[in-house]
Amino acid sequence: MTVHAPESLTAKPTGMTEASTSWVRDMVRREASIVLDGKDYLIDSRLCELARRLGLSSAEEVARNAIRGDRSVMAGIVDALTTNETSWFRDGGPFEALRTTILPELIRARQSERSLRIWSAACSSGQEAYSVAMMCKKIVPPGWEIDILGTDLSRDILDRAKAGRYSQLEVNRGLPAPLLVQWMRRAGTEWEVIPELRQMVRWDWMNLAHPFPALGRFDIVLLRNVLIYFDTRTKTGVLDRTRAHLRSDGYLLLGGAETTVGLGDVWRREVVGTTPAWRINDAPGAHSGPIETGPSSRPAMTGPPRSASPVRSPSRPAHPPAPLGGR
């Protein structure tokens, strides 16, 4: 049996100074509205990886270059701290809710339009959007128009999502083998989503912390494991803007540790199977947010050039465990 040793997934921290760590924390908070309090280890280890890629000697040197004003290093830092691994059909429960209840219900409600719009906000490397696409292929009747939008703040990660290429480790993570062979093909040492599925998803750059561009309204919004990185004010803003882009009978799905509680009374929690989903509260007196339609003051779906803005997507910082059977 020959097994290839996987490359190390996380670097060992080398001990950044408190001043540099704190500068990085503030910069990421300012640029991406992401809170990294109590995550010094994450900051250090991600900057170590970045140092290796940039050919610098240490995490501390990466931070110093950014502090001296190197915009591309700043962009790299925000990217490194917000870009993360994700998995297929993540957490199971929400996808089970989509399959058994939410999609069938919306399919009944949209009989005359025969179209569904789904938004994977902070889509990271795309597994969530492709998982939704696979599920739609299975249960939405043929002939329906399915529009799936994946947005993220990291252009690097969007390029990866668009390419639809995943490593062997990534396809192990939650993707049932029958779906793997149905929707993916080997491409060298990686796996690639087949064009039929790739065509179902559009990808665009977007900063959730800023006013949204004209997106229209969605039937389902997946906004999972993003809010936890925002402060309360930003959270409220993101949820208000999301509400304006959700149809009145639509569903909002958040991450397992997230809630709209304390962030306004416009949301109503509803348990679907084992999963909480959020619906728009149409009770009298409930706040009804303005719809952002028409051209926004910012160019729709086009971010500032990469070098000019280091703002990146909130995704899911986590240390992946070391692979087994690889040595």
Partner: protein, 133 residues
Amino acid sequence: MHALVIDDSRTMRRIVSSVLARVGFTCVEAEHGEEALAKLEDMTAAGTLPAIATIDWNMPVMNGLTFVTRVRADTRWRDVTLMMVTTESEHGQIVRALAAGAHEYVLKPFTAEDMISKLSMLGLVETSAEVMA
């Protein structure tokens, strides 16, 4: 619940067994398909039929694919979930294994979390969240 771990590498059997033990399985190990068939007979006789067998592909004496085919040909074992755990990662190989009757496929290398999530998908672990915490 019982599990049958089939791999010609002792290290690999130890790794897989420890992951399965973590989520409550009692493991029996076999070095190749033929030994695994014998152990499966023993377990059946003892009333400890495994809920799952994890199967390497390339092994001496009898390979994993043949083992899958043999198990699927015997109705006494139709409730045994079969999961390939192998470096064989060609699209066609995975299709072959699934067609022969394997339920799942884990590519080496893998993480404990990946394997537990597969077990959870197969309904063999209650909720993956708590064991992965």
